[in-house]
Point group: C2
Chain length 332, copies 2
DNA sequence: CAACCGGTGGCAACCGTTTGCCGTGTGCTG
DNA sequence: CAGCACACGGCAAACGGTTGCCACCGGTTG
């Protein structure tokens, strides 16, 4: 039951090990008939190359790691799925790492894995920018849903999306909006706030920011209460989880959504279409983001590019029942 | 920037490579002062053992693979999270594989990874039982949410849970229940149906089965229509996704839940508490299942056990608004 | 016809660890 | 004080591939 090696194949085929090796990893380097013969023998023996032996000398592991800030967040599911499928399609393996919202764990795990993977997908990284740059100097890195000058990145478009969202609220008649911010170290949080504030200024709305809040349902209570103190008629939450928490708290406090307050989120997670009222949110093809990120990583291994690509995947504003005309009962 | 090896450390510390190696992987084998010295030098040089070189000779990769039938199903998130955390805690790496509900892909991926991982967690495997047994002969395997004689397994309790669920429906006054079954190759589907049928017989309810249905929201439409044709006043869906799809379809058809029909699901996914009406479901600590599965796998590597443990994690029936007294409007 | 050349295959040196075995120095026993 | 067990370190052979380099061979070329 001992698995067969390149030596077994070489012996059985009457060639040198180098020929067997080349028949697999560099087919053009051996004559056609020899190659076929070797492959046939290998098949018969059930030979499977040992990835570790291979990695040891070639320094390529055919594995990529995806580090997510919080594996519990449903938003990442699609991202992970897209990445996994793209990796698999190229015969790569996806390693999943949960940073548990901790920059320290994130770094620790990256460190631990450097030798075992060919590159990293850093989704919603909580690292300071300079640390990312430094990291990228030593490793192949693609940052996801964050932009870092000089680094390859894939983000779901959100600046224009925020503008649309604020525009949507403005057109409904809102004149004051509050952004319930995500974690301080979240690039997205900062970026969204900038976009929202800019759009609000353009459209003549008053914009405020409260927070930071953890991007979880549980934090929604505090976020809702904070939103109410601002007197704003519309609240944009950092993500759908937070928004759903806000909806809950508002319902508990007897605040009508959207009659009294409109609520919107980001990510368009599965649950956004199920909560009550259903949630207006900025969605997009998260799976595509994951897919693209892996693709960029794989490409960068083939031909190390001088310029790091910065891809933007389009988003779409999904209007649902949680936003409406202020003061008017829903459904009108 | 070339990463340092055991050889660099050995030279810098003035010892042999074997001593350095042992200082890390077999600390008792070297004298205390030598060990400290070596470790200190290693730290200074930023030495990190190369996992591939290590794996090559030791045949231990410190990596486990988790194969899930469908990575899109939110039910797996908790499972994955629990597994990831437990693996990380022991310095193991979790590789994620999506079988996309295809036994072929499942097998293919397992085959591809055999050399790169120490063992497999097979969650909701769609393989025929004999294939699993054969697989387990060649690899370390723990099956999750499935039981296979002779194989290590972790399942969330569901027999008693199904009994409770049927009991709950009976106590509400239902006399006929329909099970909307999951995929034909799903062990869980078969097992749940057996439990439901058994409980129904005991309690004097009529039980029918419809399906199989894909365990997705999209299949809920067909499942709901099928359920209505049976005339049963209560439907138990194979999982929450299907149940949510059923709720949607029933709402579209103007069927009141639970006044006209009660609906229940399995898994207690996040969305079950958000949909309308909120969903009665059999939940449990899925993260614990993942954690336990990894733990069993890791233990089995330390001391190969003669008897394969079969762990059952308790479940709990979560009563929400989707089940009620037949014929009576909700909230009474 | 000699020189040359591209296409193939083999040799052997790595890649970075682990580990069986051996040699040495030390402390203890009788 | 001889004899011995033992703790500790070193040597070197794996583990299973990849790859630079060389040798060979038949066919072109001048």
């Amino acid at each position: 039951m001992k698995s067969s090696t390149i030596y077994d194949v070489a012996q059985a085929a009457g060639v040198a090990t180098s020929t067997v090796s080349r028949a697999f990893s560099n087919p053009d380097r051996v004559g056609a008939v020899t190659r076929e013969h070797v492959l046939e023998v290998a098949r018969r023996l059930g030979y499977q190359p040992n990835p570790h032996a291979r990695a040891l000398v070639s320094r390529r592991t055919r594995t990529v790691a995806m580090v997510v800030s919080d594996i519990t967040n449903p938003h990442f599911f699609e991202l992970i799925r897209g990445a996994e499928m793209r990796a698999k399609a190229s015969g790569y393996t996806l390693v999943l790492v949960n940073a548990e919202e901790s920059p320290r764990i994130e770094l620790e795990q990256i460190h631990r894995l450097t030798r075992s993977v060919d590159g990293f997908l850093l989704a919603a990284s909580r690292q300071p920018e300079e640390d990312l740059v430094q990291l990228a100097a030593g490793h192949r890195v693609v940052v996801v849903n964050r932009r870092v000058p000089g680094l390859a990145s894939v983000v779901l478009e959100h600046a224009e999306g925020c503008r649309q969202m604020v525009g949507h609220l403005a057109s409904l008649g809102h004149s004051s909006v509050v952004y319930l911010a995500g974690p301080r170290s979240s690039w997205m949080a900062a970026s969204r706030w900038a976009a929202i504030r800019g759009a609000a200024a353009e459209l003549g709305l008053r914009a405020q920011r409260m927070g930071p809040f953890a991007p979880t349902v549980a934090s929604g209570g505090a976020a809702a209460d904070a939103a109410l103190t601002t007197g704003a008629t519309a609240a944009i939450a950092h993500n759908d989880l937070l928004a759903i928490g806000v909806l809950r708290r508002l319902a508990d406090r007897g605040v009508q959504v959207p009659a009294d307050v409109s609520v919107a989120g980001f990510d368009d997670i599965f649950a956004a279409d199920l909560c009550t009222p259903t949630l207006t949110t900025l969605g997009g093809a998260h799976a595509d983001v994951g897919r693209a990120a892996v693709e960029i990583l794989l490409n960068s291994m083939e031909q190390p590019r001088d310029h790091a690509p910065e891809l933007v995947v389009p988003s779409e504003l999904i209007l649902r029942r949680s936003t409406g005309v202020p003061g008017r009962p829903p459904g009108q």
